[in-house]
């Protein structure tokens, strides 16, 4: 029988089609190793990412969210990433205020030539998530209630 393996965080990454997705591609083609914890979703632009996406990911039980786009000034659509920056900034700060651990909402600028940086970012974010443990934000029972729920069956 298979041994119960060590817990691995699940990370969802929203990568912009023009820079970060190509950056991730480059990381692959140049044989850079990065944690397989990330599930990548291609978006047309980091400006496409709504705060709702992040909330929905956390609600579905993902342990962290990474939003990645072109460096400021290099957006394919000129201003998409500037708008994303404002939105992500208030979302992250506000979620921290409500009580989401800051490690769970991450953002980065990765250009199409930065395969190495992409691998580092994913490794770093995964390390951070391992440090804080599984996402129990939206689960019915958390730690102290866990025992009670088990007793109920």
């Amino acid at each position: 029988m298979r041994q119960e393996s060590e817990w691995e965080p699940k990370l969802v990454g929203f990568l912009c089609k023009w820079c970060s997705y190509a950056g991730a591609d480059l990381a692959g083609t140049s044989r850079r190793k990065y944690p397989a914890n990330i599930r990548i979703i291609k978006v047309p632009c980091s400006g496409r990412v709504e705060p709702l996406f992040l909330l929905k990911a956390l609600r579905l039980g993902f342990d962290g969210v990474l939003v990645s786009g072109c460096h400021p000034g290099e957006c394919h659509y000129q201003t998409g990433n500037y708008r994303a920056r404002r939105r992500i900034a208030i979302t992250k700060k506000f979620l921290e205020w409500v009580g989401v651990e800051p490690q769970r909402i991450q953002a980065s600028w990765v250009s199409a030539s930065e395969g190495g940086k992409f691998a580092e970012v994913v490794a770093d974010v995964t390390r951070g998530l391992k440090g804080i443990g599984p996402n129990q934000l939206f689960s019915q029972e958390r730690k102290e209630d866990g025992a009670k729920a088990k007793a109920r069956g």
């Binding site: 709702l52 909330l55 500037y82 708008r83 992500i88 208030i90 992250k92 700060k93 409500v98």
Partner: protein, 316 residues
């Protein structure tokens, strides 16, 4: 002030400068007011201005057609300006009757102060920084800071930012910022996990009546994300997880429009301290982007413009 309002409202309607007047009239219960929306110049005599004009009337602006004369306190005027910024309202179609607001009296606080129901009170009078409550022929004096709404205590701009007719003398701002942030500071002392549990507990009371959304002048989406079914962002049932998502995303959506008018918290039937969320968002927007909602009708809305250098600390 009230006399001047009645005259101005009457003459605006008579001269045909506006089609509608939106203001306050006495409510059916003691110490309450209710919104008055009228086309009839004779109704102008029913208009009142007193320390109980609590509603943010900007909410009705998008619902009436034609030119409108509207009574606006400091915070309401900012909501109107915010709507103008978002092209929901045309400036030329609005005549703003500005009321320099000394702060609105919170009847709940008054009841707790004197330990009596509002029906048993004879009178509540605001005098300078005191509130005088008459009960059973007795006069009780309290500092105004104990009887006003929390958001009024932190009011920076009691005088309307944008007006056509100002009905009184301009007033200075901020009575007591610290007191109004009491609950927020208490929460700041907690760990993220404790804060999350706090909101989980508070929002598990939410019955999803959407009063907070419907009363909010900044919440003007034709279709709210909670009612979307494809994809379904949040279930329409009052479960705490979905309640929390609703409130968090609502606050993110109104960032840069919310003027901390406190209406959401006031109308909440289960007394969820929503202002601790809205005020925090208000402060975040101010801290990160030096943006205060509804200050300048020619400014761009917060989320539609950007600076070259800002908020880089959130990105790797």
């Amino acid at each position: 002030m009230e006399q001047k309002l009645k005259q101005e409202a009457k003459s605006l309607l008579e001269q045909g400068k506006v089609d509608w007047i939106i203001g306050f009239e006495p409510g059916s219960l003691k110490f309450t007011t209710t919104p008055l929306i009228t086309k009839d110049k004779n109704d102008a005599d029913r208009l009142v201005i007193n320390p109980f004009i609590v509603n943010n009337l900007a909410n009705f602006l998008t619902e009436v057609k034609g030119r409108v004369g509207i009574v606006a306190k400091g915070c309401d005027s900012r909501s109107i300006v915010s709507l103008i910024q978002d092209n929901k309202v045309v400036r030329e179609n609005v005549v703003i009757l500005g009321v320099p607001c000394p702060g609105i009296i919170d009847l709940g606080k008054v009841e707790r102060l004197v330990g009596k129901d509002r029906d048993e009170l004879d009178d509540i009078i605001r005098e300078g920084d005191k509130v005088i409550i008459k009960v059973n022929g007795e006069k009780k004096e309290f500092p105004a800071t104990e009887a006003l709404f929390d958001n009024c205590l932190a009011c920076e701009f009691p005088t309307p930012q944008e007006y056509d007719i100002l009905l009184g003398e301009p007033k200075p701002g901020a009575l007591n910022l610290a007191q109004s942030r009491g609950n927020i500071e208490k929460l700041e002392g907690l760990t993220p996990e404790q804060r999350w549990d706090f909101w989980k507990k508070e929002l598990s009371r939410c019955i999803r009546c959407y009063a907070c959304r419907n009363v909010c002048p900044a919440c003007f989406c034709q279709r709210c994300f909670v009612e979307e079914t494809e994809p379904q962002w949040a279930l329409p049932v009052p479960r705490w997880q979905d309640n929390l998502i609703f409130q968090i995303v609502r606050n993110i959506h109104v960032a840069g429009r919310c003027t901390d008018c406190g209406e959401c918290e006031r109308v909440c039937p289960v007394n969820i301290p929503l202002r601790s969320l809205t005020r925090e968002m208000y402060d975040i927007v101010d801290e990160l982007f030096h943006f205060k909602a509804g200050m300048d009708k020619d400014a761009l809305p917060l989320m539609t413009h950007y600076e070259q250098e800002e908020a880089e600390e959130f990105f790797r």
